[in-house]
């Protein structure tokens, strides 16, 4: 009996044969093309703890799995012993609308959670890609966010409490169920974005918000690159209740229009923004905005146009999906998320467009322009994608940003630093990983610097 067979037998007695996948049945759970030896789908926390302890005893690696929508994020794994799926932990454990907090199991899908909150006029203010399938645990592990981050922040601003299961099967918690809390170290922050390398997230308490009374989407056509920064500055300084501000280049607009089968305005750049308030308040903001842009000295045109719901609804859905849909549309590419200062966003667009033209291709570039978070899809005309990543890195370095390759073919991922070069705090990160997972069994090798 092989080591894996022995573990399979032990796991089967914990989760039952129906909830343990072996052999070819595990192919759907492949990570970067590596099929796991086993997939365990525990029913509850006790079973998760038992699975972890057994894997630890058998010296096997464990890869936590939520909705599976963002599993391409991270370095390629060397081998995958056990995928631990959280999909049976889907319960909402507490929801008190008056407290504006809710506690849910980590495997609950974001869409399902929103569905429970909406009747009370509330929502969890996160709008990442794959909202229908992505789980709240996955959102935390991968630190996913979307356009509304501009007003509402990201997981680090919304997560109040957490419970995790360590590789030793011990359940620990941090934070609490109240909206303001400094009782003990803020381990919530440590788990957010830790990509399942420290512990398996099992339970989360969130701060929720009232749904805005209304929203209005405005698209601004911008013809000249040099106008981008003054327009962005003006928009960020104006008194607006702005929850999203997304800058798209022409290639992204074309791709969105094709994907969504809608007509979008054609321009070198389109700024899509969304304001909140009652209909009176949003139209007041729209009016102000167009007046303000008219008075801005610009090289070219900046024409605002309000979008009706038939356009804005699919448009925002399409924008939310971009980090995944860009990769899905062009498998032989690299999609990168870049963190920049707001003022560098236009320069970054310029760098990417220049590089793409030089290669005779066109790269979709878009940015959450009020946050400085940009995305680009790199493709080539026969050249290795790795060269394009080098071009990207040169720009990011020049602009003092940081970047992550969120998607690339496996062969490319093997040859580049997916998370970029770590900073001088990497020794601390390694020490934290060692302290939580001394035998390096949780999602090993997938995170920054090979953690």
């Amino acid at each position: 009996m092989s080591a894996h067979d022995r573990l399979a037998a032990a796991l089967e007695s914990v989760v039952g044969a129906e909830w343990l996948l072996t052999d070819t049945a595990t192919a759907d759970y492949a990570i970067d093309g590596v099929s796991p030896r086993l997939v365990a789908v525990p029913a509850d926390e006790a079973q998760i703890a038992a699975v972890l302890q057994l894997a630890d005893e058998h010296r096997m690696t464990v890869f936590p799995h939520g909705g599976g929508s963002h599993m391409a994020l991270g370095n390629c794994p060397a081998s995958v012993d056990v995928v631990l799926s959280l999909r049976r932990l889907q319960s909402q454990l507490a929801y008190e609308p008056g407290d504006m907090t809710t506690t849910v199991q980590a495997g609950m899908r974001l869409a399902d959670l929103q569905h429970t909150l909406r009747p009370n006029g509330q929502f969890l203010a996160l709008d990442p890609s794959a909202a229908a399938t992505t789980t709240v645990g996955g959102i935390v592990a991968a630190n996913l966010s979307g356009p509304r981050r501009l007003l509402y922040g990201s997981a680090r601003d919304l997560l109040l409490g957490i419970a995790v299961m360590g590789m030793n099967g011990k359940r620990t918690q941090a934070g609490g169920r109240v909206v303001k809390n400094v009782t003990g170290y803020d381990l919530n922050k440590l788990y957010i974005g830790s990509l399942g390398t420290l512990a398996v997230i099992v339970e989360l308490t969130w701060k929720v918000h009232p749904l805005p009374p209304g929203e209005l989407t405005i698209a601004v056509r911008v013809t000249h690159h040099e106008d981008l920064l003054p327009i962005l500055q003006r928009l960020l300084q104006m008194p607006l209740r702005l929850n999203s501000l997304v800058l798209l280049n022409a290639a992204t607009v074309h791709e969105l229009a094709a994907q969504l089968d809608i007509t979008l305005i054609d321009a070198a750049y389109v700024l899509v923004l969304r304001v909140e308030g009652s209909s009176q308040v949003t139209s007041h903001q729209a009016h102000r905005l167009s007046e303000s842009l008219q008075h801005l000295p610009l090289c070219g045109a900046a024409t605002p146009q309000t979008c009706d719901e038939a356009t804005s609804e699919p448009l925002w859905r399409g924008i939310e999906e971009l980090p995944l849909s860009l990769a899905a549309a062009e498998p032989d590419c690299a999609v990168s998320k870049i963190s920049l200062r707001i003022s560098e966003v236009p320069d970054f667009f310029y760098d990417m467009q220049t590089a793409a033209s030089a290669s005779g291709v066109s790269w979709p570039v878009f940015a959450h322009a009020g946050n400085g978070i940009a995305y680009v899809r790199l493709t080539s005309n026969g050249e290795p994608i790795l060269n394009q990543i080098r071009t990207l890195d040169a720009s990011v370095t020049r602009l003092h940003g940081r970047r992550v390759i969120e998607y690339a073919p496996v062969a490319v991922k093997h040859q580049c630093e997916v998370w970029g070069t770590p900073g001088d705090d990497f020794a601390l990160m390694r020490a934290i990983k060692t302290s939580f997972d001394p035998h390096n069994r949780l999602n090993p090798g997938r995170f920054i610097g090979g953690l």
């Binding site: 359940r171 620990t172 440590l190 009232p210 003022s343 001088d424 705090d425 939580f436």
Partner: protein
Amino acid sequence: MDKHTLLQELAAIVAPMPVLSAPEEMLVYECDGHTLDKASPIAVAFPTSTEQVVALVKLASTHHLPFVARGAGTGLSGGALALDGGLVIEMNRMNKILELDYVNQRAVVQPGLVNLHLSLAAADAGYYYAPDPSSQGACTIGGNVAENSGGPHTLKYGVTTNHVLGLKVVLPTGDIVHLGGPSLDTPGYDLTGLFVGSEGTFGIVTEITVRLMRKPEAVKTILGSFATIDDASNTVSGIIAAGIVPAALEMMDNLTIQAVEAATGAGLPLDAGAVLLIELDGIAAGMEEDAARIAEVCNQHGCLNVRVAKDEAERALLWKGRKEAFGAIGRLTPNYYTHDGVIPRTRLPEALQRLLAISHKHNLRIANVFHAGDGNLHPLVLYNEKDADELERTHQAGEDILRTCVELGGVLSGEHGIGLEKKNCMPWLFSDDDLEVMHAVRRVFNPDNLCNPGKVIPLPSRCRCGAVTHEPDAAATQEAVAAALKDAHVRS
């Protein structure tokens, strides 16, 4: 090493700044805003650069001397106390604004900068720094980072951690590291988020990158007076239920009103059981409607009077009353003990009833002035430290208050920190395993435990002291795990 040599070595590092060590000079440093515990440091050094902080930390490390960074000393949980006769590293001479970058809505500051001074510096450009502890005219941003400080406006805008993007830190080893940075989502673990609120036990911050916010176009400040604290509490729930998140939603009870009115003459109604100070801010459009809805909610809950500040002067006066309330309480009593527990908002009426019962039980006056919008209570227990019996009852009342918060599903502290004061209560909320994770993280940053020892978490052996309550769910889970494993081993 003898003290004389130590003082010489310290002086050589920070010269020409002084090193204080005379017993009378140490009086200022033997406690912070939490005056119930005191400990005298061996010396106080005033560094002026990151390099000097490194040298001080290395010197302390060489001599196995505990050390603690101190800002303005306004902390309320004993976080800045040098236990075991350690060294105080006083950061208030590192108080420069290094960069104001309005385009990127950022500032880089030194830790000794007074919180309010940043907002004042950015005011002409139309920006401000949002976290606004009541002590913002004195407290430092470095201290705010250590404690993850809040303030009245954090209801809408979040606490310190939501506004800190990057840190330059001198680790207890003397190494300098940069956490986070000028842009968001720095790849890797969010050590910035982990560091904020670590109460000076992970290292010493020497540079802080913070977010600046655009000043709101309009502000409306409303004072609602209520006959009873119950009516005011129900109004808080009503405002939240109406889907309005005000910028601030503060409550003061009658005892506080009396003290504040005597101190500021803001025109608070002396006969009211409680007042709510409600502030809306943001874009001007729609604000009148929101204010009208709030007034309606107030009236539905038996509001005696709704007063809207007619100008900036009146608004400033109302806020002066709120922000100086703690000081005003000093008119009523020689000493007071401030608590900071948090409860779920919906439990507010029950919590305030129980505070009243605690006041009767221990025969002590308790004043309430707090952040009602986020359930962050500040019961002030009035006492006289010269009365030994009253002092003892004050401690007991404090414990009852904290237990009440925990029993109602809340936590020990919302913004003041655990420090020395509440560390032995941590087992009420956290299991030994939870606390061991916190210890493990602290060991990563602070392996020799020389950096602010004795704070935040009780020693592992201490976890079992007092009334340890284990999370019932956790115990049940452990049992179920044991059963599942046993089963697995039998069958495999």
